[in-house]
């Protein structure tokens, strides 16, 4: 299995897609960092200021979460659908005929690349966020208190959302469709569904992927928008997100991935 994971990681790093994702990830985090500083500034009469409320501090530390939502699934989608798009699945299966092993290796490699994207976000927080924070006289001790509720969750969200991408990739096989389903699903369809069910049926679909990951990351960017208390607890969110990763993957394995490769 170690061999296969190394091979899958090698595949990712020898194609441009995953590196482009890392660059977009870091640029996006650099831009999203403006939000908590702007938010903090609006509390004190405009402009930018160092975040001080729990929500703003979490938004600053966990800025990567916003990037994870639309970038992490793509890595999983690329890892799986690239095999179909470039017709390399045949070669892959000749070198490792046990398909469950191949898919597991892809899942692990995608999770690891997801973690790399997560680390990328923290590099930006460290370099850009902390220097602004220091310059604006922010309180490092209150920021430090938010590390435990936010940082592991953000890394977990990157990892599990990458796994979600693997699952969707196996189910749909087509690269463009996979990207549209994951991004469109989490960012557009899911928000519409959540709003619809809340207003019409008074049901809370807080177990959908982006709501579940919001819970996992301690309500970053989400507590303010939808009101605290409606998200799942961090571990329930994590479990829901894990299910979003595993269930489509297992379904896809039994439906598409085990088919004849002609």
């Amino acid at each position: 299995m170690t061999r296969l994971v190394r091979s899958e990681l090698f595949k990712l790093r020898t194609t441009p897609g995953p590196w482009i994702l890392l660059v977009i990830d870091m640029v996006a985090c650099g831009l999203f960092l403006l939000i908590p500083f702007h938010q903090a500034g609006s509390l004190t009469g405009g402009g930018y200021a160092a975040p001080s409320t729990v929500q703003d501090l979490r938004d600053m530390l966990g800025v990567g979460y916003e990037a994870a939502l639309f970038l992490a699934p793509i890595i999983g989608v690329l890892s799986v659908t690239g095999e179909y798009r470039h017709k390399v699945l045949t070669t892959t299966l000749l070198f490792s005929p046990r398909r469950a092993d191949v898919l597991t290796a892809k899942a692990i490699a995608s999770i690891l690349w997801g973690l790399l994207l997560g680390l990328g976000s923290f590099v930006v927080v460290g370099a850009e966020g902390l220097s602004w924070f220091a310059a604006d006289g922010g309180s490092f001790s209150s920021l430090a208190h938010q590390i435990v509720p936010v940082v592991p969750g953000v890394l977990g969200a990157f990892a599990l959302l990458a796994l979600f991408g693997v699952g969707i990739g196996v189910l749909v096989k087509n690269q463009v469709a996979g990207v549209l389903v994951t991004i469109g699903g989490t960012i557009i369809v899911e928000q519409l569904l959540v709003a619809l069910f809340q207003n019409v049926f008074h049901m809370d679909l807080n177990w959908l992927p982006s709501e579940a990951s919001a819970a996992l990351v301690g309500g970053v960017f989400n507590g303010r928008a939808t009101g605290a208390g409606r998200l799942l607890s961090w571990w329930a969110g994590g479990l829901a997100l894990l299910a979003w990763g595993v269930v489509p993957g297992v379904l896809g394995y039994f439906t598409t991935f085990r088919r004849d490769v002609t």
Binding site: S7, L94, P97
Partner: protein, 316 residues
């Protein structure tokens, strides 16, 4: 190298919905020999080879390498190397990186990369992106990947498709060389003429059914040559040849075809009757005609071409 592996196919059957792609196929490919797996397009060759490699699941029957299914082999790429059609490469990956990816997946030493690049003559282009490779270079790279594990058996599906004449000549010599080392080589083609110089044994399929199996020499013996004779005494020649037991056909005022005859038989016969000749030619070995006949005799959907059709030796 591991010793040559015996490839055995028994009762292999595959249905795609209502289409019976392969029906009860039996054949064996032996070490040290090049076995040509021949049949027209759509005969089920690719499906059979993919079943042999665990990519397509058989509806019935078995396909084994030294008695084991491909997916049950402990180190499949060290025992079997495969070059298949419709496989490709990530266009932005370099050739060397493609091979490295394969060594990582299979645990084969990276030292083999340069060795196989030398074997297929791609060393100088190894650091180029595969997207810029010609079809012939891609085929060579595919072959390099198949040879990484120094396997005892090689399975190639239409490897000469898209190769230029030099490439085909190189491939022929290379396959002979690999079999000469004791490896089992199973190679499919829709052109017997192209394979006749390369293969020791033939397995001929048509519409998913085995039509013929055995040494090429046996087939060649059955395909007797046809003589083309140009003479001003066509009528006399026809009666002389017919009297000697041949079945001559006059095809033009001064041209007679004599089937199943050799120059050694016809020359002395015509000389003894003092028949004037302008020309005495052997019309190929007619192996291709026999091949067409074998693959067509199931009738129906095989297309209109007559058994005598001349098939060009190089694919378009």
């Amino acid at each position: 190298m591991t010793t040559g592996a015996t490839i055995e196919v028994r009762g292999l059957t595959k249905h795609f919905g209502s289409i019976q792609a392969v029906r009860g196929l039996d054949f064996t490919a032996h070490p040290g020999r090049v076995t040509g797996f021949l049949g027209p397009n759509g005969a089920g060759k690719t499906t059979a080879l993919r079943m042999l490699l665990g990519l397509v699941y058989p509806t019935a029957g078995t396909a084994t390498i030294d008695g084991r299914r491909y997916q049950d082999l402990h180190e499949p790429t060290r025992q079997v190397g495969a070059v298949l059609e419709a496989t490709s490469f990530h266009p932005s990956r370099r050739a060397r990186a493609h091979l490295k990816m394969l060594t990582l997946a299979s645990g084969i030493s990276e030292r083999r990369i340069d060795e196989v690049l030398d074997l297929v003559g791609l060393r100088a282009d190894a650091n180029r992106k595969v997207g810029g490779y010609s079809l012939g270079m891609r085929q060579r790279l595919e072959l390099a990947g198949a040879l990484l594990g120094d396997p005892g058996a090689l399975i190639l599906d239409e490897p000469s498709n898209g190769l230029d004449p030099q490439g085909i000549a190189w491939l022929r010599a290379f396959l002979r060389h690999l079999a000469g080392e004791g490896r089992t080589v199973l190679v499919s083609s829709h052109l017997l003429a192209e394979m006749a110089q390369t293969v020791d044994d033939v397995v001929i399929v048509s519409q998913g059914v085995l039509r013929e199996q055995g040494p090429l020499a046996t087939l060649t013996a059955r395909a007797r040559p046809t003589m083309r004779v140009r003479t001003p005494e066509a009528n006399r020649l026809v009666s002389v040849a017919a009297a000697a037991g041949f079945s001559p056909r006059q095809v033009a005022a001064d041209v007679v075809m004599v089937d199943n005859a050799s120059p050694e038989q016809l020359g002395p016969l015509l000389a003894s009757h003092q028949i004037v000749l302008y020309e005495l030619t052997q019309e190929g070995m007619n192996l291709e005609a026999l091949f067409l006949q074998l693959t067509q005799s199931l009738g129906s959907s095989m297309g209109p071409s007559a058994p005598q059709a001349v098939v060009p030796p190089v694919p378009a």
